[in-house]
Symmetry: C2
Subunit: 361 residues, 2 copies
């Protein structure tokens, strides 16, 4: 029988086991990692879901990160933290960092946290959401593996460097902007490569730094790091006409706030001896600005005014950031999480490698 959906709890339990048995993650690390991956699939973001077992396995087997390592605080004030991830997996490190950030913010009003020598932490939104769930404004930035081209350059020096900000609205969902600063995720270029081989202008430039529609070339360059040249573009593309300098500026801002403030390894030197990702978190209590409930209501009213405004021809809904993911998650909890056929097969592949039974919904 073809496998399609699976319950949240079952997938979560299976992934905890995979990570513990297969990757030798300590139990707690396996739990938070499984949690964030399953949350991504539940929200419809398969790009950050359980199929990433491959990436996390690669990192461990190449010695780029060390499941038994643990993050530590290397500098702190009442409103700030610097954390050295010591090349432990990015999920337990981020859990530690975000919990400490929340603790300080609740006690002292805000906390800003720079993390170095971490690894991939999954979707940025999960971490900002932890803060918003406690009524805090949550910021979550990370640099990533080099993927993208500074405007007018041709060397891949920056990552997809996402920005995430979650603002409580007094109801669910929070306002939650969670965006790569590149035009699209690499996953979209790979899909285009598999399907038609071409992609829209504005997604990437070739090795000469000029616009390209050749998705096959860019997918190959990016995935296998075959050449230092050519790669993804930031929001606004390769010219100033559509604001390419702005998207590139946002990507660079994320790099400076993550690897810059943490004294971490910049994205262009990452994944050599260690994974070396760097994050920046900020949590801020809303009552710094007065009555938190009144502020949340005001924010909700602005959101409602926009949602309820007239729609463009051919559209019947204006989305607020966070809504799609929230609705997908509700559906997944009710009907099960849908995984695509390739993901089911990948789970089997790694189960075989780890000597674990195949997952059965």
């Amino acid at each position: 029988m073809e496998r399609t959906t699976i319950s949240y709890d079952k997938l979560y339990g299976y992934m905890v086991n995979m990570l513990e048995k297969g990757l030798k993650y300590p139990r707690e690390s396996a739990e938070i990692t499984a949690k964030v991956l399953v949350e991504a699939d539940a929200r419809g973001h398969a790009s950050h879901g359980v199929a990433r077992i491959r990436m996390y396995h690669d990192e461990v087997s190449k010695g780029l990160n060390h499941p038994e390592a643990a993050a530590e605080i290397v500098h702190e004030t009442p409103i700030s933290l610097v954390i050295n991830g010591n090349s432990a997996p990015g999920f337990p490190t981020s859990k530690f960092a975000v919990e400490k950030t929340i603790e300080k913010a609740e006690a002292n009003g805000t906390c800003m946290t720079a993390v170095r020598a971490s690894c991939h932490f999954g979707m940025a939104g999960y971490w900002a959401e932890q803060m918003a769930d406690r009524g805090l404004i949550g910021w979550s930035f990370t640099n990533t593996l080099r993927a993208s081209i500074p405007l007018f350059g041709r060397e891949r020096l920056l990552g997809t460097n996402p920005i995430c900000v979650a603002i409580p609205t007094g109801r669910k969902p929070h306002f939650m902007l969670d965006m790569a600063t590149t035009t699209v995720a690499l996953g979209k270029i790979e899909v285009a490569a598999r399907r038609s081989g071409v992609m829209p202008i504005g997604w990437a430039v070739g090795e000469n730094g000029k616009d390209t529609e050749n998705a096959v070339e860019i997918a190959k360059i990016s995935r296998f790091d075959q050449s230092p040249y050519g790669g993804q573009l930031f929001l606004g593309g390769a010219t100033e006409t559509l604001g390419g300098h702005k998207g590139y500026g946002l990507g660079l801002l994320v790099e400076l706030l993550t690897s810059g403030l943490s004294l971490g390894t910049p994205g262009y030197n990452s994944y050599q001896k260690r994974s070396d990702m760097n994050h920046y978190f900020q949590a801020t209590r809303m009552d710094l600005f007065g009555d938190a409930k009144e502020i949340k209501n005001h924010i909700a009213s602005i959101i409602d005014r926009i949602k309820n405004s007239p729609k463009a021809e051919g559209h019947d809904r204006i989305y607020i950031h966070g809504e799609k993911e929230f609705e997908n998650r509700e559906k997944s909890l009710k009907e099960g999480i849908w995984l695509d056929p390739a993901t089911w097969l990948r789970l089997d592949e790694y189960a075989d490698m780890f000597g674990i039974e195949h997952i059965v919904p």
Copy 2:
């Protein structure tokens, strides 16, 4: 003899006089307003320069703001401020807000400041730069007059809502990202309207919410607020293909941090009885993250690595945000500030209105 350039000090002095005599700004308000306007022209941002005397005159003469009013603190903690601008001009209000923000940040590590009932504060970069000049990381956001369309909508509900972040690098210039979250400034659409009448797809949508190249229509709608429908697009344009949901998300984020946190009037209700702009500032001490000098050096090294990387075909320079403005300013200080012919004439027009002699370089 045709007027072309003028010395910084002469233009500044002239503008102080214009604002004091013509708009009845108190001396200190005239000084900070003239300063920020002249700084914009010196940096090559004529859109935010002295030609804006028209806009500030309009606001005062329509009673939308009150030069004799003064901003006041309505809520504070050791690391936050809420300021009511009381419809005073935006420049003295922002000067007050930023000075207080810097004071608290220097004493307590950081300060986040929400400002309501302010007016237009000129270029966002000036304010973030004040913080960076003191070695602080400076954030400066503002909402603006309604100009832009939420993705899949057709009503102008959001402004051009700029994001500015300045990060000290231990040398000049700072890293300084100062960007409207819309694809371009309205000024660019007006220039396109005057020249060819057409603009690139991705800058705006018409009254039906669909892509348009008709710059004349959009310039008219936006400048005279003739219809609530049609207007500018956010970075990424009118579709998700090039990331329109991301630009729209950034614009909405700015609205929520400015009018949301300050309990201010949202952009879509501004410029009715009062100007009603709202700002958000944040200043953060770099030693929250360790040795500030070491961090600045590390940030400078990341910037240098990017600047010195190979260039795309047809380009000979990769810019870092803040460089162009810094270089323009150096040139203006040496050679004088260049004003375009329309700006010279506008200054004369208002000088006549105010009974002041024409400006002579």
